[in-house]
Symmetry: D2
Subunit: 282 residues, 4 copies
Amino acid sequence: MQTNPHHILLIKCPDRAGIISTVSTLLFQNNLNIVVMKEFVDPVTNTFFARAEIAGKLSVTEIKKQLNQSFQHNSTVIDLKPSTKKSIVILVTKEHHCLSDLIIRHHFNELNAYIKAVIGNHNTLESLTAKFNIPFHHISIENKMHVEFEKEMLDTLKIYQPDYIVLAKFMRILTPEFVAAYENKIINIHHSFLPAFAGANPYKQAHKRGVKVIGATAHIVNNLLDEGPIIAQKTIPVDHEYSVEQMVKAGHEVEKSVLAEGLRLVLEDRVFVSDNKTIIFN
Amino acid sequence: MQTNPHHILLIKCPDRAGIISTVSTLLFQNNLNIVVMKEFVDPVTNTFFARAEIAGKLSVTEIKKQLNQSFQHNSTVIDLKPSTKKSIVILVTKEHHCLSDLIIRHHFNELNAYIKAVIGNHNTLESLTAKFNIPFHHISIENKMHVEFEKEMLDTLKIYQPDYIVLAKFMRILTPEFVAAYENKIINIHHSFLPAFAGANPYKQAHKRGVKVIGATAHIVNNLLDEGPIIAQKTIPVDHEYSVEQMVKAGHEVEKSVLAEGLRLVLEDRVFVSDNKTIIFN
Amino acid sequence: MQTNPHHILLIKCPDRAGIISTVSTLLFQNNLNIVVMKEFVDPVTNTFFARAEIAGKLSVTEIKKQLNQSFQHNSTVIDLKPSTKKSIVILVTKEHHCLSDLIIRHHFNELNAYIKAVIGNHNTLESLTAKFNIPFHHISIENKMHVEFEKEMLDTLKIYQPDYIVLAKFMRILTPEFVAAYENKIINIHHSFLPAFAGANPYKQAHKRGVKVIGATAHIVNNLLDEGPIIAQKTIPVDHEYSVEQMVKAGHEVEKSVLAEGLRLVLEDRVFVSDNKTIIFN
Amino acid sequence: MQTNPHHILLIKCPDRAGIISTVSTLLFQNNLNIVVMKEFVDPVTNTFFARAEIAGKLSVTEIKKQLNQSFQHNSTVIDLKPSTKKSIVILVTKEHHCLSDLIIRHHFNELNAYIKAVIGNHNTLESLTAKFNIPFHHISIENKMHVEFEKEMLDTLKIYQPDYIVLAKFMRILTPEFVAAYENKIINIHHSFLPAFAGANPYKQAHKRGVKVIGATAHIVNNLLDEGPIIAQKTIPVDHEYSVEQMVKAGHEVEKSVLAEGLRLVLEDRVFVSDNKTIIFN
């Protein structure tokens, strides 16, 4: 139906008067229609951010050239691309709930991404992926140096060249080298409302501390464990009747929901990363 | 501090290509800076809505003239005004919680409005307003025709000429004539998540129905009882242990919170009314 | 591991002093331990409700006999049963999200029920059930009287003898005769926060009304459309940017979550139905 | 109206079979009716907790004696008292929102406590308390040793002998000596969802970290800063558009709501403290 797909324009630049006028006039003069445009100026860094969905026939090269001429500031970042489906590879360990959720959405064409493959450091979830004809690679960490383990994963990822890597309860810490190879392209779900309970066993920590809310955090992975830019967070109430196991169970519901939401935002090109934070145009 | 106050520009017009370009260029050429601008196109009615906060010295008459020349469509609505504090008159009956909340915000300069006066059809809340030196008018409905009752209120309102009238748990129904005199200027808090439980005794209705959530709705009053455009809604969980009285008590917390939020949106000129619905630029 | 499964004791009777003493002493004298007990007295009807999880070896017949002797009031309802997994049959139409959610939970042994079969009035979801080896019965309504359609369903249900029937976005209205055959045994998910937007197309109704929250309701089906006892409800915020389609999409997330929660409560024998309302011991 | 006030019975003891039977039978034999009783067994520590509301005429000494005879375990804690209004003294600094909220509830007889006095280390809020005829003590920290400052507060508190001390945005850290003088009797509101952002300037920390939820925590004060037993927590969503100031403003709404809720639970004797956590019978 949609012969000319929409394009997504992302701009990040130092703020100054007239930016919206410049951009919108340039697009109008190229017979392009702004379906929706959202802007934000960070008053702390004086940075302008915008995301526009553009309808109309266009040459990406030509429009980008014109935009770059208009801005001419070397810290300006302009990105323009058709709003097409991305590809992902999902990394898992043993827990199924996030993977199941993504596979079902994928199967019914609701994910806005192609799941190219799943990599598991255990083979627990292989039978699930098999039902949906998704390639599964079992890359065990047993009897292996961590660097070797990651090398195998990187080699496998090279086959699929995914736009994004999704850590769907992948319980191993990735080295800075691995992360650097996919900068701002790795999305993780952490099972707590960060920065509370970073690291291992957050529900055990939460139970011990006696909190009255638990939660989950979808974030972009950087070199510092659980300290990357946060995309989405949600919390749910708990009380003294929750055992650690019941917190884990209740938490699973939030984890899969937050990961799905965070991933949607990333896949629709709605997330800017700036200064270890995210600006999200939803 | 703020020698040139910001101005708020509101535009509603049939959608067409180039609107953002036209508006933003016009403002830029007048040396005005768009602090923040948000747009929305209603795909059902093909209507464009925008709200911009504008910084810089301007003549309202001159800019409106230029904007009207640019649009030249007779269904276009352009509003431009300094972002100054509005005035309100609050109508109450006996329950204090919404009035208390607004008075405290007002006292500590957090309301973004001047409370000119409070009108009560009972005098229960007069002692509260007295503590804060807010004029209170007791206009009883006893021994009076409803038309006479409203006439007294309208006469009192004329003294204060408020920008908005706030029904803060005012338990009398206003006639179409009264409402027409303040079209889109009367904000009500209804003690249910409309359209559920319109009319009288919503908590009693909710208790009888055995719902597991209750809520509140801030809306603009029109001629149809509890059917005006909704500004804000919130719900909270309840269970079988709640008596009607406990629902009322829990509901009070939501009511005052939703009214404060809905009123804030109105007072900051963030609410468009269109087709019995609201478009809200927050 | 658990050689003596827990038993669930449910009591509903006219309230009077000493009930807890009577019950707890009777159980103690039978060497039974109350793992957890929750009570509620409805002050409107003066009815006592309790649910206890009981550990220890027991004869259901013997304990029930003793309890009945203690109460001797003919409106008393005493139920005692081992806390075993129930069986369900799921009815669907075309939408997958609730069925997918239940099938995944079932597959990973998290549902607390056996899915005996799925019945669809369309065959859209047959391929999904096939992946998980769950019998699917396509019972079309085409070229058929409604009574005939229901007869076929009832015949199929007779094969499976399910403890509960789950309407997982089953878009046909059941007759009082059908409902009577499974009194208080049919769980439905309605795609609105009832009593708002009962009947067809609730999201279209919600969009038209311009509400700022949407939601879902899990309830027990009775003869009156969407008016049965409510088990669970949840709402989520929406705004003017949501089209009907986006409301539907966002609503799916709530629907599957509320149905899963409502069903869990039913399957764990936590739900009393009384006077078209539910008392839930969670 | 209520000639015989309800009594609240609180029991904490090592778990064993028959406790409920023992307690409920003892009360029944004394012609006392259990209006509502809730229990919890902590499986980690094998501790039994219960709270009962008891109606009927009783001698506290006599019933406590009987109960102690029944339990005879030296780690058992039995508390029995009439459910009467408690008294509180509120400590503040400059921010009004929590104090305003409590004063309004107090004024309209909704607080379930007598506010005996307010102590401020600044005099900012004195004019507010004056309106409601609540004694205000300005105890400045200027030109004073901290120990001297606390001595003045302790002397003032001695006058009022409050059941609880409420820190309603009191921005000074109390010494272990002060806390020890009111063990488990000091309730604080912390402006973050602990354990995230303990210490100073939590909203600034939250803004810097780029979280998508902020929150507040009501907790009992112990010797470790912001590490006491948590009573209540709530979170609200935020996004990149929130400045620190806007987070503070939004946070105020949650803070006052969470403090009011936490305080209600304490004042109604619903909170057990055990092992740096709370068991709450609501």
